[in-house]
Symmetry: D2
Subunit: 464 residues, 4 copies
């Protein structure tokens, strides 16, 4: 969970590059994982390969605190992978990429996603003599690769992935290749891009933009992309099944400037806001539409336009992220929210406000937002959420793992409204969400709204 | 100058608190200077006083890098001042607050602004045996205080300020008082606030908001506020003269959520955007209005509303600030701008864009912005600036010190348009700006647009 | 190799404690590995266990730079192990302790020594599907433990150690036990101590002294010590074979204040100096005996007493260790040696000096020492070495791995004398060394002097 | 006071270099202040001058923690000064060198010593309008220089020094000169050296040795050395008076490898040990002589030789300095002393020990030393101190400032013996000390033994 806002956290961002033209790629990987940092702020790492020699550096902090110019210079190689992680554990072994040696040489892996059968696989592997250094699903995949009888890494990876079940977008660096795979259902995003003659894999297209690379296309569910000196080839390693792309990527996780499956995320979010307005039956009681920044910005704009109400910045954001330690004597109301957002009395005073946000997960900050706006003199505060109530945990890569944490799993709509102190509360309907997505996507996973898990829950659900 | 955007930098933010009710104020000062960090990112410091004992800590970095919980705990005292600085010098002595000892005991000072006669005063003081540890104007003021024959600090400060000429908002911490003063013309902002029974001085009201304090009012030009155990008293130490409030505070410098002289800054900026639209004669050639984030956000919204054109996020901001070191081989076009902003092809493609920003100073980033948007397929790019051309240096506290750096001092409007590659270029007229300000303000300094310096230039203009 | 002196470096120091009486042991482990830091200065780590929960922290620096009070407090547990490493690689995975999970739960290991068959074992393990995260021999041992069919950790460890061949003193932390083992030949030291009701394992007794613990005895070659809540038990896991204790521990590696097999190391070194004097045939040409600090201190004192010559501090040590970066323009002769030692003109001028050191390995600093003393006016400089010429690499844990690096493997005695510029050069004879050790030890390894390797060289000698 | 041993701390070390031949001197200054770090471990700084441009960097830590290669490279200049400080205050302003600007341009100063009339001078200066940034005596001197009517810096410095009274060895860097002065009585050491065509000033000759410079001679009491492009000139700025060199420099403060006034410090200390033996009347009850390392090393050797008793390392030193934080539950007896010294049971058991140290100040560690040795089985422990009892505070630069802290000011000899638990206690007599010094020195200050203060105590004695 994000510390300051009530948002689910993606578990990871991945990036990989294989260059023919340039000598050093570590600074490009740095830019890539920096641009994907919204997918994981707790740790990051870069692994590069230089003529068969692997070098790696990882740390538990923001990308900028871990890598400086000198460090990047020391990471020599014309290919490599990088990773952003939300794993809050201070355990160094749990930061990715994972670099291992096996009978097929060195191998580095970085994964976004979550397996549902990793517990069983670990037990099986341990029973057969494997040792684990981390609690990463990625290490399970690495073990399965190492145990595969096949010589070619693609075949061994195939072997490995045929045993795992779950959500994963994975980049793998071998001594002579860079491989990217997405699970058969395509839960997590992964794109392929091009910079001059070099190929890049990344969780989101915004990581291509920053280095001036061009988006080729999304990696397909069940597809394996193999990049080497000759260019890239693709093979389908899993038969085609129904697509189950995580709809929360569109709702909150992905950067608004990313393109997923041809869709600009910001525009999709605006559309969610428009649909929310169409579904809203008390538009008359609204004077102005105020976004909860930044999460509700796009939806609020769409909402305001559809509702034909003024779009107003009734709260503004502090440019600098700060820490909230404070002498316990000096209790300041709503400090965590205040460190990010400052309400604008001149705008909200005497007004009936539609406060638009993308989602409510635990409900811990919505109350503070409503309070803050009301304290500045808002006459009414109507909370509008551009996604359905989150009622079920995610087992495919979001860190919403316990039902008891989810306010919408514990309370009725009216109870939530009272809890957060709003005058009214409207969520986007599942039908409304679906009507948008079915035009844009082959198929989405809505499990956190419905409890219908396309590939089950697995047994090992309370670990990260 | 801001490293990534072509904006002038304010030289400083100041904060002070005198508490009766609480024991420790260092974490409140931390929050205060954190919220004022947009006024100075190069260094900061906190000085506290505990029963006559002063303690100080300063550093050359962002507030969050200098102060952690342990450090704040070690700064004990129920009153204190803090400072944000843009002084890029690595010289520790140039970071404020300035803590000195003189015959009237210990004294800490923190200033926002710039004196025009500091060079003469330094020469005079040095000739009379004074030694300087820094190049700060604040140290000049401190010397003059120390040399005053008056016993009372208020009188000595009065003495000192009667000798200096320039722009200053100053907070002074003595063993038993906290004093705030604004220069006679009120170039720089300073407000007074209240938290329970405690009084606070701050450059902007956003620093009150973060700690839950209430804005009482602005300190008046030529006013001295004296805070002690009994509360606060005010005295006019300078006769009333024409107010010359820096209009650039409204245009760019102040945080949009601050209230200055009763005006919400964001609303003023929206009004500038509206006026810009009223003055614009080629509205027909515009499809959508795109703000340059964050500087042009408010004006763009006003512009779009007045022009009745769609307000669109055609570029989005990266949440995380990063560094732009990169292997020289890997030249990436417009990387500095890209680290902050990502253009949205789906929004700008095939459109005639009005790109709205608050100002152009050196003109170094406007070209990159226009280029980036055009590269994504914009049909036309019209640049709209919500302030007049900056043609003259500031001697009162902004770091625009050389005419040769100012693009509008060197080129005609048409030349600038060509230089930045826009299809058209419109600045807000001085009359337009004036028409907004004269309703809201008693009087503003427009010297950077007109070259008419209300209190002259001084001689010592090329030092910081 | 030590950066400043021409000494071989031990690869590691290990420490373990299992407490019943106290809650937290991390600060005791800190003191332990701090006192063993002469055995490894490149990295260190601490792993603790608290009711089955393991926590670990490691870093690449001196112990004091890695662990501070806060860090130690965060490492909670009443038992744990620590390690000092000379592995200069920046690879975090190569720092010990090694913490892994297998079918028998979590396991932490820390080793001092070197296996001779690790390459074969790695190949075998990789072929059978194992993956490696490091290049540590310890990881080989961990894999073999994990693959053992035995349930009890002691039996599995036994299994594992029956497959490895080499020098190792090992501490293993399981969820309920602390185990210490020495290889069958006892190449590397390991002692067991007691503090109140708690038991401790350590590479050297000096680590017991610092925490006020009592030395019980050395762990025997081929012995396994199992410590748990009930106290400690011992079992012989290997049949008795000839003891092959590394004589270089006595010559240089161990701290002089340690007790090994009942012998005070300082006194043994004095005895080596005495024997060197007895063997020396040009005592008449010596005025004073000067130790090369600190390595030659003990031997020099013994030499001086036996030779009945004045023992003089003709060079003194700088208390603070410094770095030797220096502008290349400012070449300073012998700076590396000077940073540690300063010659005393008043003492050496006009004198015939016996310069006593413990060993010459590559011969890189001896020349500088002789030069420095001569430059201060010494009339003659006689180099006396209290061990035989090092002519062969070590495969059992010292980092003298290439014959080509060893001056005595490349040159005759007379050539070395000329190379280092001494008037005469005397080594202790192997017979002389042996005559001392055979009284004190059951059996020693002299392979670096003789090339007779008691358990062979292995194949994988050039890796660390 | 040194944290681990019961020793007085010198307040400072100074270093200066003026080069014609080389471009950069910062790394030479680094080496110089590193070699003088025994004179001040709490903070240090370097100020360089490059064609009139001054640059400075200071910090509160060991030299090695403050300066790395990059930092030194950024300090550009062919002349400069450096300083080691024991000022434990975290106040950055109190770290030297002090860099100021006055009517005669920039000036940097670094001082070793203490003024006795600084309080009066500060009051006078403050009364006349001076402001102080620090509590340094050096700042008083700087003010007096700035206020001098003389144009030439030498004359102004002369003026300044004629007003101060106290102990000082001072280096001053101006835009074109490097000046060194010693007070009229020469309390503190200062030498001048030569490296190629460049001249160097340093507190001790060991700072010349490390950079390969040659000792020219001591700066004389009352002498001013002026170094510029032409070389160095000398002038006597004070009439000749009785020399009062601090005898504690010989006893403990100076490095043993330094030459002061032609005397090797180590040899002087050996002589003190010899004299102590001559004065000792219970030599018969001594089996072996054990030095307290490192402070008692030289004296113990002299003592052993004169007494004709075996000189034995009955305690050995840990090579690495560590911190002594430890969980309060885990009380370890004598940990502070143990972190430095480990007793050697095999050497002391059953023996009558003469434990030789240089001084007892507060008496806090002597008890621990005696205890530790006795706990290892020593039959008798006789404490022998190679200086007289310290009964009076120092006002001239040592940090022994309160009589109540001095054990010998509070207790009789017999009481001290009981307090430290020794079987006997012998101090060197004042006559004995005097007999050594009068041969070697023109005159020494013995005030801490006698209370006869050659230039009085001043009024401001309790500040540092």
């Amino acid at each position: 969970m994000d510390k300051y806002t009530d948002k689910p956290a993606e578990e990871c961002g991945v990036f990989g590059i294989f260059s023919k033209d340039r000598k050093e790629v570590s600074s490009l990987i740095y830019l890539g994982i920096h641009s994907l940092q919204h997918r994981g702020q707790e740790g990051s790492g870069i692994c590069v390969c230089n003529e068969g020699q692997f070098d790696i550096y990882k740390g538990s902090s923001l990308v900028d605190n871990i890598f400086d110019e000198e460090r990047l210079k020391s990471l020599k190689g014309n290919r490599g992978i990088g990773h952003d992680s939300t794993d809050g554990s201070s355990q160094h072994a749990n930061i990715q990429p994972l670099l291992i040696k096996s009978s097929r040489g060195s191998l580095a892996l970085a994964q976004n996603g979550k397996l549902v059968n990793s517990k069983q696989l670990r037990l099986f592997l341990e029973k057969n003599g494997s040792i684990f250094h981390s609690t990463l699903d990625t290490e399970v995949i690495a073990h399965l690769i190492a145990r595969s009888p096949h010589d070619k890494i693609e075949d061994a990876l195939n072997d490995s992935l045929n045993q795992v079940k779950g959500a994963y977008s994975l980049v793998v660096l071998t001594e002579d290749k860079l491989i990217g795979v997405r699970d058969a259902h395509g839960f997590r995003p992964l794109v392929i891009g091009k910079l001059g003659g070099d190929y890049i894999l990344a969780s989101e297209s915004c990581a291509l933009d920053i280095i001036g690379a061009e988006l080729i296309r999304d990696v397909n569910p069940g597809e394996m992309i193999i990049i080497n000196e000759e260019g890239f080839t693709s093979k389908r390693y899993k038969p085609e099944v129904k697509s189950e792309f995580c709809v929360f990527e569109y709702i909150y996780l992905a950067r608004p400037d990313s393109i997923i499956h041809g869709n600009n995320v910001h525009l999709i979010r605006m559309e969610m806001g428009r649909q929310l307005a169409r579904e809203c039956d008390n538009l008359d009681s609204i004077d102005i539409v105020v976004p909860v920044l930044d999460s509700g910005l796009s939806a609020a704009q769409g909402f305001a336009e559809e509702a034909d109400k003024p779009f107003r910045f009734g709260m503004l954001k502090n440019r600098y992220v700060g820490r909230t330690f404070i002498d316990p004597v000096e209790k300041i109301r709503n400090l965590k929210v205040r460190m990010k957002l400052n309400p604008m009395q001149e705008i909200v005073r005497g007004k009936k406000i539609a406060l638009v946000d993308d989602s409510i997960v635990r409900g811990t900050t919505s109350r503070q937002l409503v309070d803050m706006v009301r304290a500045e003199g808002a006459e009414e505060v109507h909370m509008l959420i551009s996604s359905p109530p989150v009622t079920h945990p995610c087992y495919y890569g979001l860190d919403i793992s316990k039902r008891s944490d989810l306010i919408a799993a514990q309370m009725s709509l009216e109870e939530i409204r009272q809890e957060i102190g709003a005058d009214s509360l409207n969520y986007l309907s599942l039908e409304g969400l679906n009507s948008i997505m079915e035009e844009k996507e082959n198929g989405c996973c809505y499990a956190c709204f419905t409890g219908e898990y396309p590939i089950g829950k697995g047994h090992d659900n309370n670990s990260i």
